[in-house]
Symmetry: C2
């Protein structure tokens, strides 16, 4: 499956959709026609790297399933997962690689894509297991800009972002995507802070 | 009904609850035991005054019903309406009143209470009409502090606030409760901005 998706991404977009054939629920016609479109921004763990989702992404996802997209209402929602790949400017991850031909760089790009897709796969697989309609795709660039851009494009009913819940001092240096989005995205924004008990010793880790 | 509630408020708290006896839905046992507790902050209109709810409060309420608390899922949620009454320091509303005895001030206090209750009544009545479990109460003081305090006390699953969606210049002078709460409240916070088409000529009006 990943190969086909990679080709789709070459064309600028990756979308993987799933149907809800398994689920039989008595549905209100008015709401079934218009499922609530939930855009969820997910990123990789700053501790474990790709393809591991960050603590704040997983927290936000679990919160949604527990509190909004409940068992008997799953068909009334559509979860859209957006992962913004940040260009690896310092190339730290590739310090041990040797580049001898143009093909080596091509392989590198493919590797990046596969990482991002594995991250999405985590969420799409989980949704599929429990029968939540979903799709996911990847963008590359500055997360703040890309997320606001996608909101303008797909018009979600709600945008949900996890937040590391940094203190005021850390926030100055790290900056928070969630604060920016809350102000600038053209739709209601829900910020879900990481649970205190799940916060690593260094709260910058995620 | 209002009299009894007023007495309850004398004791420091007003809560009006409604049951869902009318509604018969097949319910998932796991989720029915734990309805999602939604705390919604509502305030009066800055144009029309009490007991008219502000545009941003009504927008937020309508958004919730359309996108989260859908027809077939209403029993899985509990809407808690909090209205924070801001002490009327300049007494502008009472410029035309004449005070001649201590009783006049007592009447004034009662009038304030009744206004706040009429505001809550708007939302509670609407929930009752469509069968959404709900309760509402009033606090007095600084909205930012009072809202964060109530979050600590009742542990909502989600806090929803409307926002006037002011521009950067207006924000400096007016300040926004929603921004403060997003940072400081101990639960996920959803900010629902006012729709552009509903914004009055002066966006400070609400």
């Amino acid at each position: 499956m990943l190969d086909g998706v990679l080709e789709a991404k070459e064309r600028g977009e990756v979308k993987t959709s799933m149907s809800m054939a398994e689920i039989q629920v008595e549905v209100d016609a008015e709401t079934e026609d218009n499922p609530t479109k939930v855009l969820i921004c997910v990123n990789q763990s700053s501790i474990k790297g790709y393809p591991h989702p960050s603590l704040s992404s997983v927290d936000a996802f679990e919160w949604i399933l527990k509190n909004l997209v409940k068992k008997s209402c799953r068909h009334l929602f559509k979860l859209c997962f957006l992962h913004v790949e940040v260009p690896d400017e310092d190339g730290f991850d590739d310090m041990d690689s040797i580049y001898a031909s143009p093909d080596d760089f091509k392989n590198l790009k493919n590797r990046e894509k596969i990482r991002g897709l594995h991250l999405l796969e985590f969420f799409i697989r989980r949704c599929h297991e429990i029968g939540v309609p979903c799709e996911g795709w990847i963008r590359k660039g500055d997360p703040k800009e890309q997320i606001c851009h996608e909101v303008k494009k797909i018009h979600p009913d709600i945008l949900i972002v996890g937040s590391r819940g940094l203190g005021p001092v850390q926030r100055i240096f790290v900056g928070t995507v969630s604060e920016y989005i809350s102000k600038h995205a053209d739709c209601p924004v829900l910020v879900i802070k990481r649970k205190v008990e799940d916060t690593p010793e260094d709260p910058v880790d995620d």
